[in-house]
């Protein structure tokens, strides 16, 4: 079954784009890696707060990511997946890859889709968010995170052979969602 990994840096709107794309796709299951990690963290008594995942010790985060990847691999056997995640994660120690070798081996993605926007747009969306707390990144810092994401995407592509696609989320989210949905359909 196919696995499309969609990613964007926090605030770009990748969750919303994935959700809108999923509504256009019959028979494709949307999974948010953060949801799975949070569920496992809860079961292990680590945290019930999504914003605290990045503050856990690195080895705990790695363990959660790997368990999540194993879980996703099992789900992928049941049907096509659209996986919403971050290719780069911010931790208390600095930025780290969101997917390591073990996770890529488990997931075996067919493609990576990077959802992107201008740093100014991302900063504005972060400041407007009522539910999530993003901290006070400058547009320069957001630009750095975009660079890390691009580097991570190509690194993962080299490791897996899966191509990297690019979707811009600057206009109506439904437009970007339609682009993403077409990419998911193309690999089913």
């Amino acid at each position: 079954m196919s696995v499309t990994v969609a990613s964007g840096i926090p605030g770009v709107g990748v969750s919303r784009i994935c959700e809108a794309a999923r509504k256009q796709l019959d028979g494709v299951t949307l999974v948010n890696v953060g949801d799975v990690m949070l569920e496992i963290a809860l079961e292990r008594g680590l945290t019930n707060d999504r914003d605290e995942l990045g503050g856990l010790p690195v080895h705990e985060q790695r363990a959660l990511q790997r368990r999540a990847a194993e879980d996703l691999a099992r789900r992928a056997e049941e049907g096509p997946l659209l996986v919403s995640t971050h290719l780069v994660v911010r931790t208390a120690s600095g930025f780290l890859p969101g997917l390591d070798h073990t996770m890529l081996t488990e997931l075996r993605p067919d493609q990576f889709v990077v959802v992107d926007a201008d740093p100014e747009s991302i900063a504005a969306r972060r400041s407007e968010s009522r539910h999530r707390h993003y901290g006070g990144d400058t547009t320069a810092s957001i630009g750095f995170q975009r660079q890390l994401q691009a580097a991570a995407a190509m690194t993962y592509s080299i490791r897996t052979g899966a191509p990297v696609q690019y979707v811009v989320n600057e206009r109506e989210p439904e437009e970007a969602a339609t682009e993403l949905a077409a990419m998911v359909e193309a690999v089913r």
Partner: protein, 100 residues
């Protein structure tokens, strides 16, 4: 498509996206998915309605907010002991050095 007699917490994202439009009012959430039970790893399952009885939120702006509400307000049967690992023989994998 869904096993509405019992599903995992992390499977609810797809359910919410398929059946709800956000922002979603509390009443709509309860009417649409409130009866669905969520498997509990350490006890009896709770329904989404039972879990949301512990919050007075009138509206959920996004699937993120609804999911996070479930995780925040689930009963003790969903919450494990800290540092417990059900795959003890493989626990060493968690202590590997991380390299960029």
């Amino acid at each position: 498509m869904y096993d509405t007699d019992g599903m995992r917490l992390s499977e609810t994202r797809d359910l919410f996206v398929e059946r709800l439009d956000f922002p979603a009012k509390r009443e709509t959430v309860l009417e649409t998915v409130g009866s669905i039970e969520l498997d509990a790893p350490m006890g009896e399952p709770e329904s989404i309605e039972q879990i949301l009885e512990r919050t007075d939120a009138a509206e959920f702006e996004s699937a993120d907010e609804l999911y996070d509400s479930l995780v925040t307000f689930v009963g003790d049967q969903y919450i494990g002991r800290k540092f417990y690992d059900d795959r003890g023989s493989q626990a060493g994998i968690d202590t590997e050095e991380v390299h960029f």
